[in-house]
C-alpha cells in the first residue's frame, strides 16, 4: 500500500529548476532594492519559529516575496521531514 502513497520521484533536473526559480526570484528582488524593510527580520523570525516547532533544518525553509501587478504574495516554503523518517 505504501507504494501508492509515495510521491512520484522528482528528477534531479526538476529539482535544479525549482531551486533556480526560487533563488533567481529572490535575487531579482534584492537587485531592484524593492524588498520592504521589515522582510529580512520577518524572514528570520519565521524561520526560527518554524524550526523551533517543527524541528527542521533551516535550509529546508524558504521565504520569498513575489510581486504581482495588483498584490504582493509572501511565500513560505517548508519541507517537512517524512513521519517514517524518524
Amino acid at each position: 500500500m505504501d507504494f501508492f502513497r509515495r510521491d512520484p520521484p522528482k528528477t534531479s533536473a526538476a529539482m535544479a529548476k525549482e531551486r533556480l526559480q526560487l533563488i533567481l526570484t529572490h535575487e531579482h528582488q534584492g537587485n531592484m532594492g524593492s524588498e520592504p524593510d521589515y522582510l529580512p527580520a520577518l524572514r528570520q523570525e519565521l524561520l526560527e519559529v518554524i524550526s523551533k516547532h517543527a524541528g527542521i533544518d533551516l535550509n529546508e525553509v524558504s521565504v520569498s516575496l513575489e510581486r504581482k501587478p495588483d498584490k504582493e504574495v509572501l511565500e513560505v516554503n517548508v519541507v517537512l521531514p517524512r513521519h517514517d523518517a524518524h
Binding site: S12, E27, H28
Partner: protein, 269 residues
C-alpha cells in the same frame, strides 16, 4: 558601422573563449570582416584557442598605452584572411583597461571591420565590465547546470544596468542565449536542465545549442576553432549559430537521443 558583440557568462569554464573563436571564425567564413578581442587581461588564452600564440608581438594594452599602433597588434588568421585577433596583455595590472582606451580601440576597429567580438573574462570585475560596456549584442554562454544559469542571470542584470546602452538610455543590448555542453540523452533521463527550462529561467531568446562533444577538446588541442571542423556536431552547431546571428532561419539540430539509450532505459543500464 561594425556590430559589437560580447560573449559573456559570469561563470568561468563554460565555453566563452571557444564560442568567441568559433563565432568570429564563422562570421569571417561567411565573408564578414571580423576581429575577435581577448579581454581577459592577465590570463591570455584566446591566442592559444585560435592557434596564433607564437605570433603575438604587441597586445591591446600596448595600444592603449601608446606603445604600439593598432595594426601592429592585430594578427591576421592564417586560415581565413577576413579574420583578425587582438590579443590581450599578460600584465597583472588590473587597471590596464579603461573605458576611454577601450572606446578608442573599438572606434578605430569600427572603420575596418563588420563585426567586433569581445571575449569576456569570467567574473563581474573590471575586465568583464569593459568587455560588455560597448556591446550592441550579447551572447550569454550557459551550461545546463545550476551555477552557470544563476551566473548568467547575474550577468544579464549587469548588462541591463552597466552597459553603455543602459547608461545612455539607448535601445537595450540585444541578448542571445547560447547553451553549450548540452547532452540530450541526460536531459531525456531527467538528469540535466532542458533548453526549455533554461530559456524559461533566463527569459531571453535562444541563439543556439552546442552539444557536448569530444571535438571541442580536440580543436583546442590543435589551436583550431571548432567551427572549422565541419564533420563534428559541435562545429556544425556553431556554424548554425552564426547563421542565426546573421538573421537566417535555421532549425536546431542534434536534439535527438541516440537509440541505444532506450535499451538502457528498459534494462536499467
Amino acid at each position: 558601422m561594425a556590430k559589437i558583440i560580447v560573449v559573456t557568462s559570469g561563470k568561468g569554464g563554460v565555453g566563452k573563449t571557444t564560442t568567441s573563436a568559433s563565432i568570429a571564425a564563422g562570421l569571417a567564413l561567411q565573408g564578414h570582416a571580423t576581429v575577435v578581442i581577448d579581454f581577459d587581461v592577465g590570463l591570455r588564452n584566446l591566442d592559444l584557442i585560435m592557434g596564433c600564440e607564437r605570433r603575438v608581438v604587441y597586445d591591446m594594452v600596448n595600444v592603449i598605452q601608446g606603445d604600439a599602433r593598432l595594426h601592429q597588434a592585430l594578427i591576421q588568421d592564417k586560415r581565413c584572411d577576413k579574420l583578425h585577433i587582438l590579443p590581450t596583455s599578460q600584465t597583472r595590472d588590473k587597471d590596464a583597461l579603461d573605458k576611454q582606451g577601450v572606446g578608442q580601440i573599438l572606434d578605430e576597429l569600427q572603420q575596418s571591420f563588420d563585426y567586433i567580438i569581445c571575449d569576456s573574462p569570467a567574473g563581474i570585475e573590471r575586465g568583464a565590465l569593459m568587455a560588455l560596456y560597448y556591446a550592441d549584442e550579447a551572447v550569454i554562454v550557459t551550461n545546463p547546470e545550476v551555477s552557470s544559469v544563476r551566473d548568467s542571470d547575474r550577468i544579464l542584470g549587469i548588462l541591463h544596468a552597466k552597459s553603455r546602452r543602459a547608461e545612455q538610455g539607448l535601445a537595450p543590448v540585444k541578448e542571445h542565449l547560447l547553451i553549450s555542453r548540452y547532452n540530450p540523452a541526460r536531459v531525456a533521463e531527467g538528469e540535466m536542465l532542458s533548453i526549455e527550462d533554461i530559456q524559461e529561467l533566463l527569459g531571453i531568446p535562444l541563439l543556439g545549442m552546442i552539444p557536448e562533444s569530444e571535438s571541442v577538446l580536440k580543436a583546442s588541442n590543435a589551436g583550431t576553432p571548432v567551427v572549422f571542423d565541419r564533420e563534428s556536431r559541435a562545429g556544425q552547431a556553431y556554424a548554425d549559430t552564426v547563421r542565426r546571428l546573421l538573421g537566417h532561419d535555421c532549425p536546431l539540430r542534434f536534439l535527438e537521443v541516440e537509440k541505444k539509450s532506450l535499451l538502457k532505459r528498459v534494462f536499467g543500464g
